[in-house]
Amino acid sequence: MRSSLVRTPIDVGALLAEVAAPENGAASVFVGTVRSNNEGREVQGIEYSAYDAMAEKEIADIVAEASHKYGVTNIVVEHRLGNLAVGEASIVVVAAHPHRAPAIDAMRYTVEELKKRVPVWKLEQYADGSRDWVSAATGANP
């Protein structure tokens, strides 16, 4: 299991390779990407920032919870920070297990808890030159 904050593009294939094992018959992947539109506004990019030390701890806690809850030991999370363009991956979660249900459930739990608890923020940049902090309450979900 591993979780990291990264500042360079996320390599989904490398993460899948990291959780691969001969006994695993299933790997579940979530890729969150920057969307071109939010609440009717044209988005050009998003600047991601974090309270790094706490975000790392929270993500690691969530991965440990998912592992315990679903019996999945092969989970890897990378969350990207910095300036991202539309279409780029901001988060990738992979979970692998001998069977699909635990792999999918562990991935889903990790993504949902991460969005609730991890201190990461988005500053959206719009086509008209303005920018705004995205509040979770506005439902800006990838």
């Binding site: 969150g32 991601y48 920032s49 974090a50 309270y51 030390a53 706490m54 975000a55 701890k57 969350h79 901001s90 988060i91 993504v111 991460l114 969005k115 609730k116 608890r117 991890v118 201190p119 990461v120 923020w121 988005k122 500053l123 902090w133 995205v134 509040s135 979770a136 309450a137 800006a140 979900n141 990838p142």
Partner: protein, 80 residues
């Protein structure tokens, strides 16, 4: 005693600073930090009861602080 108080994202922008060192009486709680923060310029843009973390874990307003603690005001998170 002194604690470090950190601000992030929209809160740092509203208050105009990323962090400050605060002198508090022994036995002070997170609530005392919030009272001081509420008197800072720009604090009117913050919600009345922001989420707070102490030493990287979410903490209630009643949490008693000790010398050297790192208190952080956490704006609504938007990861993923």
């Amino acid at each position: 005693m002194t604690v470090t108080v950190r601000f992030f994202a929209s809160y740092a922008e509203s208050l105009g600073v990323p962090s400050m060192v605060m002198d508090l009486a022994d036995g002070a709680t997170v609530s005392e930090v919030m009272k001081t923060v509420s008197r800072l310029p720009g604090a009117s843009k913050l919600p009345p009861a922001p989420l707070v973390a102490v030493n990287h874990s979410y903490a209630p307003p009643t949490r008693v602080l000790i010398e050297g603690d790192e208190v952080a005001l956490i704006p609504p998170v938007a990861g993923g």
